[in-house]
Symmetry: C2
Subunit: 604 residues, 2 copies
């Protein structure tokens, strides 16, 4: 399997150079190949890392090589003992002024690098994160470019142990990727292979903080997480496309007068589970587009040395990464269950889609840890209310906090819930009230840290509420723009309302508990939601066809565009290697003696 | 892999006969082998089916052979086109009075049997469900014992096509099981191989309903679903055991004065996700024990021709099957995520535990379809209120419906939520009010069927509320019994309260919307829950150690009893076949040409 992945990666790269594709076109091509490979990390993480943290000088040396694939790299941060806590990494890089080198070392078992994709077998180089020990002092963790394998024969360089970490979830998924383990035994590298944009070590062994602010790291993070949100929309739209099409093909029960049975998509229970997922795929696409804009905005500001929006941008991308990946992982599995038995077959495409997707909840920040960052940011925002500090970006609505703490929703009948203003106000009121309430509770505790630790999980709910508000408001903003295509805007309006009211129903408890809406209004929202589902139903197939996936890309017998599920599922069975022989291997050794009651005498 | 499974199954059987194990001991042994095999269906479904539906006479012929494993059987019900709707199966069994035989046939592609475990390769016989066509009339679906493979050389008998259906989710899991496809081309079997307990076809070709009531089927279902609930408790306790132990080993952040970092189990977010799952594993164990009692009770009543409790028993086991399997599947995946990165390694044991478990949401009744049955039963119960019909079993509390619709919880401070009466009343009020409200809404619709279809998904929520009430009340009942062991009862009391208050918080919206509790009371419940988590924390490890799993059985490096995670995780990597060579297979063909920029000239 791994060899086959290598073949595909080489093929892709050959195409890229042959057709002289641009960076963006190349990334499209890799998208369509749709199999994880070491090259993903090379493009997705390694290059952005050098771009963000290297110096101009460094970039001039490494980037062209990387772009031409003359070296293959991985992003080697996580260790056996440390993932989330990057500052706790144990790999050391000790500066030796005599030779002008850093000595890379793995002092403990838990300091072994563990997980980096592409590290196990393919990479020639890695960006390795290690603690800088300079003149006996610990200057914290930084990236280093380290050559790992020889250019001659691809064997590990002296002092380096490298291997694959072994079987992961699924039978395909990340098993096509050589996530690796790496240990250093006093490996020397030239000083200038430290990434020195943010701080430098001089020839004389002096540690110098550069005037480039640390926040620059955040720029890279915003970039990477923005792509993760875009991927969430992509993965969820694939899953809902499969489940929706199959739900229209599958019929079960309800035949009248020997007519055909009911399409399962016509059952309200199926709709109630499926439609919110379809709608969420759209919502995530729009919030992803907005994040792309945000990244451009942040980059431009950084270039102009304006860091004012960075903390907010950082918190909101962290939160959206967490929200979108968690819900997308669940959505894929829910889609699989909505296909019931046949969804459990690999040929449905859903099992591997799930397995390959689900680590997005873990890498680039464990989702819970990320929500805690958002929560901290929100608590800080609340504590600064009234201090005159300007509220930017997604927290701007907190400027109206007085209003939001007191307002009563003016929804009086179900249709009132179709008004964007009504929806926005309810979501803003819920989020603001939760933030203020928890900030108040925390302030009652002996210390802020203690309070935060004690109320951890409640503030996490606040962070989720804030992120949902962002997604809802960006969906609403999107609809204010001109949208081409006849009737498209009306359809999207329905989707937007479903998204909001579905969330409102799901988190009814919070809306009620904060008094953002009344019991009566909650019940009206459920009524309106039911009406909206009925409106969306006739267009369900069109909505998922609009994602425009080819059958080849979807890779699902259940999700075929032509709906020819059964005639294609049946012959698939015969591709199973067990069917190469009629009588299974092992019959004579095991089955026959059992049937013939001869087990006692047989050696097994 | 499949061959290895055959080997283990033969081994297990050899042990069983050698040691002359009883039926119960044998089932324990198969439990510890803990790998799916064709034999599971043989014991779990085939034998109960003949026991339940065969005639005495039949049983005398088939059961001893089955018990001695002189034939291997599968339970062949599901077809390509029909799973949930058993009455829609298309395989036909046409009676031919001339030869006193049934002719088994697969008239359409969708009539192909599809999914039966053990069918693909191992089974010699199957209980095949088919429509009986007798004298031109369709008498509905019934089971037939059909020989599939020859005893001589295990090749399919004439007219029979049988094969494995191919790759399923996961790399192990159900891939050790030969789920199969089966087609009949006019295969003749003797008349007496129809299972005839409930109805018969005479020599003359007369269809006769026996006086044994159809409800007998339900008895078998109660049995099978009862074992599924017991398995849910087993699977969830395995998962929480792994995640809890690893959470105590894993440290991340929070180091003070260079001391060790914080154990992640001490983070409230981790506790908030983990502890409810631990507690649920206990709750399911107790409700499982109760279901076992229920099955015995039902069986005794059946023998005495008392069918009065059967509908209620059937509904409540259906609901509990659905509730426990859905939440257990989610719990396993949640546990995996709580182990973050390392949970994604197969050596964590969690990926395969999830994959092998998750079809329990689908087989023996799709979980949504089952909830609809419960909902129908509840709506019927409500409609009969006041008619004098006796309310039995878990619906008995509906006898106090007047009270439950009006009562106000008397909880005034957080500790009041520790009182079993307060908890019970809140859960009963919520369930009863939801049932009554939806029954009323349905009755407003033009027809009951339409109303039911329209409000489908809301009544499903009602069914869940009812099932949660059952689990909570059985937990409380359990605690009324004497429980041996010093301090054990006090611990279980904490778990019971956590379970109830966790559910109450999670479904806060419903408790508030029905007015079962007030806003203030909801907030007190959350406060009390926080206190309970803190009380449970010091005993977390003891609580999962109490499940008493050996390391071998757990099969998880992260869940080791001795906590030696890292020294065992590290060497595991070297078992990966990719590590057999230092330079990966494919280097010369693909990696090297890419690095040396020679791709243009290379043929891939
Ligand atoms: C498929 C895959 C690919 C990967 N690729 C790469 C790669 O290319 N390069 C690389 O360097 N790494 C890679 N990783 C590693 C990944 O980045 C880490 O797994 C991730 O950062 C999470 O860290 P962890 O696993 O140490 O989790 P931990 O931090 O150990 O988390 C364990 C549990 O503790 C909780 N927790 C931790 N800290 C706190 C806190 N402060 N408060 C509350 N709760 C807390 C978490 O929520 C979680 O439930 C990959 C991982 C996977 C699964
Ligand atoms: C691992 C595994 C092992 C199995 N082993 C066996 C075996 O040994 N023998 C055997 O005979 N079968 C076996 N099965 C098949 C299993 O019993 C069926 O998959 C199951 O009964 C569900 O039926 P289905 O797949 O046809 O789902 P469907 O009924 O097609 O369900 C599809 C969707 O429609 C919805 N739906 C269906 N009807 C309704 C309704 N009336 N109202 C609302 N929604 C509805 C469902 O909720 C679901 O979301 C196995 C399946 C698996 C996955
Ligand atoms: Ca797998």
């Amino acid at each position: 399997m791994y060899k086959n992945t290598l073949r595909k990666a080489a093929h892709t790269w050959k195409r890229i150079i042959k057709l002289r594709l641009s960076e963006q076109e190349a990334s499209m091509l890799r998208f369509y190949v749709d199999e994880l490979a070491f090259t993903d990390l090379h493009w997705g993480m390694f290059i952005p890392a050098i771009k963000g943290q290297g110096m101009e000088q460094r970039q001039q040396k490494w980037l062209p090589l990387a772009y031409k694939m003359q070296l293959i790299r991985c992003y080697a941060q996580t260790e056996l003992g440390h993932g989330s806590n990057v500052q706790g990494l144990e790999t050391t890089a000790t500066f030796d002024p005599k030779s002008d080198e850093f000595i890379m070392n793995s002092p403990t078992l838990t300091s072994s690098k563990w997980w980096p994709g592409g590290l196990g077998k393919a990479s020639t180089h890695g960006v390795v994160y290690a603690r800088r020990l300079v003149d006996g002092k610990d200057h914290g963790v930084n990236g280093f470019i380290v050559q790992l394998q020889s250019f001659d024969d691809h064997s590990p360089l002296p002092g380096i142990t490298v291997a694959d970490i072994g079987m992961k979830f699924g039978n395909g998924a990340y098993n096509t990727m050589d996530n690796g383990v790496l240990r250093f035994d006093h490996v020397r590298i030239p000083r200038d292979q430290m990434l020195m944009r943010v701080s430098q070590v001089t020839r004389e062994g002096k540690y110098v903080q550069s005037d480039v602010p640390r926040q620059l790291f955040y720029g890279t993070m915003v970039y990477v997480r923005q792509t993760i949100v875009a991927n969430a929309s992509c993965a969820s739209s694939r899953a809902v496309c499969i489940a929706t099409r199959y739900s229209a093909v599958r019929r079960q029960f309800g035949s009248q007068d020997d007519g055909p049975e009911t399409q399962v998509i016509d059952y309200k229970t199926q709709q109630n589970k499926l439609f919110p997922l379809v709608v969420t795929a759209y919502a995530y696409r729009f919030v992803g587009e907005w994040l792309k804009w945000l990244y451009t905005d942040v980059t431009q500001r950084l270039q102009a040395n304006d860091f004012s929006t960075l903390p907010e941008a950082h918190a909101c991308t962290a939160g959206l990464k967490s929200l979108t990946t968690s819900t997308t992982a669940d959505a894929i599995e829910e889609c699989r269950k909505l296909c019931s038995g046949h969804g459990y077959l690999c040929s449905s495409g859903l099992p591997e889609l799930f397995v390959v997707y689900v680590p997005a909840c873990t890498y680039e920040g464990d989702n819970v840890v990320l929500l805690l960052q958002v929560a901290r940011f929100l608590m800080k925002t609340v504590s600064q209310l009234g201090s005159g500090k300007q509220l930017v970006g997604t927290t701007a609505c907190m400027g109206r906090v007085e209003h939001l703490l007191q307002c009563c929703s003016d929804v009086q009948q179900a249709e009132d819930w179709l008004k964007p203003t009504a929806i926005l106000e309810a979501f803003e009121a819920r989020a603001a009230r939760m933030s203020v309430a928890y900030a108040r509770n925390i302030s009652k505790m002996p210390s802020q840290e203690e309070g935060f630790a004690e109320l951890f999980s409640d503030v996490v709910e606040t962070a989720v509420a804030h992120c949902q508000l962002i997604v809802v408001s960006k969906f609403i903003e999107k609809l204010k723009q001109g949208i081409p295509g006849k009737g498209v805007k009306e359809q999207l309006q329905i989707l937007c309302n479903i998204y909001a009211l579905f969330l409102l129903h799901k988190h009814q408890g919070e809306f009620l508990a904060t008094g953002a809406i009344t019991l009566k209004q909650a019940s009206l929202a459920s009524d309106q939601l039911r009406v909206l589902y009925a409106q969306a139903c006739p267009n369900a197939i069109a909505l998922v066809d609009a994602f425009n996936y080819t059958d080849h890309y979807l890779g699902s017998v259940l999700g075929r565009y032509d709906g020819n599920v059964y005639p294609n599922l049946y012959p698939k069975a015969w591709e199973e290697p067990l069917n190469d022989t009629v009588v299974p291997d092992g019959y004579h050794e095991y089955i026959r003696p059992m049937l013939k009651q001869q087990l006692r005498t047989v050696r097994l």
